[in-house]
Amino acid sequence: MMMIWAIFLSLFGSAAAADVTLWHAYRGAERDALESLVEQYNASHSATVLTRAVPYDGFNSKLEAAIPRGNGPDLFIAAHERLGTWVPSGLVEPNATALADVHPIVEQALFHDAAVYGYPLAVKTLALFVNTDLVAEPPTTTDALVAVAEREREAGRIGLAYQATEPYFHAPWMHGFDGALLQDDGIDLHRPGAVEALAFAHGLLKSGLVPEEPTGALVTQLFNDGMAAMVINGPWFLGEVDPTIPVRVVPLPTVSATGKPASPYLTVEAIQVSAHSTQKAEARAFASWLVSTDPAIERAIKGRQTVATLSAHQDPRIAEDPILSAFQRQMEQSHPMATDPALAASWEPLARGIRRVMRDAATPDEALAAAQTEFEIVTRPPPPPTNPLPYALIAGAILLLAIGYVARSAWQARRQIRADAHAYRWVAPAAIAMGTLVIVPFVVGAGVSLFAHRDGSWTFVGLTHFFDILFARDWPLSSALSFWFTLIVTVAWTAANVFLHVGIGVALAMFLRAPWLQLKGVYRVLLILPWAIPNYITALIWKGMFHRQFGAINGLLDWVGLEPISWFSQFSTAFAANLITNTWLGFPFMMVVTLGALQAIPGDLEEAASIDGANGWQRFRHVTWPMLQPALLPAVILGSIWTFNMFNIIYLVSSGEPDGGTEILISEAYRWAFTRGHRYGYAAAYAVLIFGVLLLYSKMTDRLLARRVA
């Protein structure tokens, strides 16, 4: 059969000549290994494989957009968790043959709906990294781990650094205490084992064995500074470790209380065949070659991957590699990440629960019970489908009315329109561009709010989302998840920001315009800098500066003799942290606008006021400010609209902490779309409501504008 196929292909060469495209998000050594293997393959096969490196961020959503429209690759390398979404939405092709030469746990991970999907390249799990200068004998039980960590604490170091508040890093304890999220009875966040596991992790933090607010960056820094004896992290951590630190990798310890291993989640990176590929045979041929023994050995040695191909582990270079073999042993004691999409929706409630416990705002039992409730709300089944006909009729009627209204107005003003024909020609290019690329996508996006999305399928639900949101059907009004609560926070956020932007901007502009001031240009350029640097960069920097234990701001507070502040554990300080960051980013715009407006104010007015005996403040208050106002007002309106939707700062600085309290409407919409089970329809309803609120606001300011200008 293969022979006939091969002859067929050689006869119709054009079909075989097309390239097989492969998308991946590999970087560094993994990428180099993959690309050199692809070169080898292309040199000895008729099919040509082309690789494309796609940024990790948005890799999945890009695949989901591109594949159904025929723009996707033939092959792509992805973690197996998303199979639960990709299989039902028909993105991936099941394997034609059974997998061989892999561990059963890997096969189990790729098994979905009675078929196996993809060819496993590598496995990724967490493991224990030990600085052997500090810890000669890595602990094998949690009791031993605590003992070592306590010894290190006495020596002024951190015993164990890991991202304790992230569910992924906390999961090994949950599994060790029999509190796995997904068990035979489904997903449950509030199991006795999970409560014990959280109490254990909380104990580690409270006794000073684990650092506070442990971010990935902090963990790396502590380890590289020789300040942390042990770290729980994944294979990617090796790329960040300072080469001068002697590091050893061992499997995670056994939980002493239960005698069970603390087993991390297992992620299987597999090469998947797209269901829309036109050359599945060639794609499969390459994929199965890439996971065969020799290429796997090369990936292990060059790319430092824990390869899934078992026979590759027979090779002495891999079997005797202390790090690769440690990850291999860890894999045997791991929990394959479930492909159920509902599991992804459990991360946020669980993370919130863990953080509440870690900052002593709740007991493990309370926090997990609340997390379970929240999880149930977020994953409740979609509203029942609605008959779209009435909606279509109403929408049609509104459209007709609108067209009629415009046509009537145009008819009434026809003489003037003809007289002003040239004006329309001048405006047309901008209007057409805006209509096509802004208004059409928005109308389509807004239309999505009438549909509910679950795992790739859409149902028409009419205005149900809006009712659910506006009447807070699922949670009390005072909950951080409620629209009205978030709206109040958003309005406060916008008002406070604009007030500070204008206040600081005007004050600096007043200083900078003094004619006698030297170095004016230097000050001006330096003060504009925050505007020039992309805000996602500076937001991350500010986030680091607000760290409880190691941030620069608490360092400064300490230096002047104040108590350090745990910025993200209370609403007021977390809000302040966002506000400080965004004020820093936003005042230069207002400063420049003010400087411009000040140029238009004649100096003799102030001179006259000065002669009349008015002091500096009085001159500003009664002469300068009233003249500045009309110039500043439009800038304030635009600024407040931008601030209202300032997603980056909220998302990157406070991430909504504590408990989603500092979330604003736009970041809440984002969470519904991307971290709460891809509820695009619900998110679109949020977006439409945001638009509505801003429209209302602009109506109000219109009146203000009219009054000022008149």
Binding site: D242, I537, G596
Partner: protein, 282 residues
């Protein structure tokens, strides 16, 4: 106004210096991470690096593609091209629209201005997927031109408002004189109005340039090929879910920020005069 007493001058300078230091502190930190060996995120409050290396700059600038071509150079060129095309489209469309809205009170003008402002309120979250489909239908997916068009339309509303505001401040009498001499609308606009509006053109251009230069979400969604990435997308790819190359990220940030800083520096006089989103008269 005469210069105030010496103590007051000193005080003013002290205040400005302190403010400047506070403003520069986070910037210095980026520089420090870019210059410090290793990929760690520094939490040390001292913004002066203890050891200096250029390895991150070399690592970021020196990236190559599969066939040994200079990938970073290509991506830098993409970014410049997209930003330049965006600015040209932005200036072109916003200037004509702004001029018409400033000079002629035609039916629908106020509604148009209002709609332009309203488009600033559309949350981006809902727009990305429909835009993707639209660009795909227009054959502009994975194309730098498509990306530039999208950026230009995000920048047009602000730019139009700003241009209109500036044109409002130019006396109509100037054009009327030229019209008397027989010049048509376009000639008057080209030869009399545009030269006067240079500060506002500079601001409009700078604003569109920055919109295109800093954006990464849409760029990462619409562009498939590494060869067609813009620099922010590359920067973003240093910040993965599994570990982050902070040193490279910071070095890349510095490289991305420097051109904008230079532009600000070169154009700062115009910036102050041309940012007149202010003097809008309804």
């Amino acid at each position: 106004m005469n210069a105030p007493s010496l103590p007051r001058q000193v005080l003013t300078h002290a205040f400005l210096v302190l403010t400047t230091i506070a403003v520069l502190y986070p910037v210095l930190w980026v520089l420090k991470m870019a210059l410090t060996p290793g990929q760690a995120f520094s939490l040390d409050p001292n913004p002066i690096p203890s050891a200096v290396t250029l390895e991150h700059f070399v690592g970021v600038v020196g990236t190559q593609d599969g066939s040994g071509g200079w990938l970073f150079g290509r991506q830098m060129a993409n970014s410049l091209l997209v930003a330049a095309v965006t600015s040209s489209i932005g200036i072109g469309l916003a200037t004509t629209a702004g001029y018409a809205m400033s000079r002629w009170n035609f039916p629908g003008r106020d509604a148009g201005l209002r709609i332009f402002l309203i488009t600033q309120m559309f949350p981006g979250v809902v727009m990305a997927i429909p835009l993707y489909i639209l660009l795909d239908e227009m054959g502009l997916l994975d194309s730098l031109l498509g990306l530039s068009l999208v950026y230009a339309t995000t920048a047009i509303p602000f730019c139009t408002w700003n241009m209109k505001g500036f044109f409002d401040t130019i006396p109509v009498e100037l054009e009327e004189a030229a019209r008397m001499d027989g010049a048509d609308r376009w000639t008057t606009f080209r030869h009399i109005i545009l030269p006067l509006a240079r500060p506002a053109l500079v601001v409009t251009g700078l604003f569109s340039f920055m919109t295109a230069w800093n954006e990464f979400i849409l760029a990462a969604t619409f562009m498939n090929d590494e060869q067609s990435f813009t620099l922010p997308v590359v920067l973003q790819s240093y910040v993965g879910d599994y570990g982050t190359e902070w040193g490279h990220f910071a070095a890349g940030s510095v490289i991305v920020s420097v051109p904008v800083m230079l532009l600000f520096f070169a154009l700062q006089k115009h910036l102050v005069a041309g940012l007149t989103a202010g003097s809008v008269k309804g």
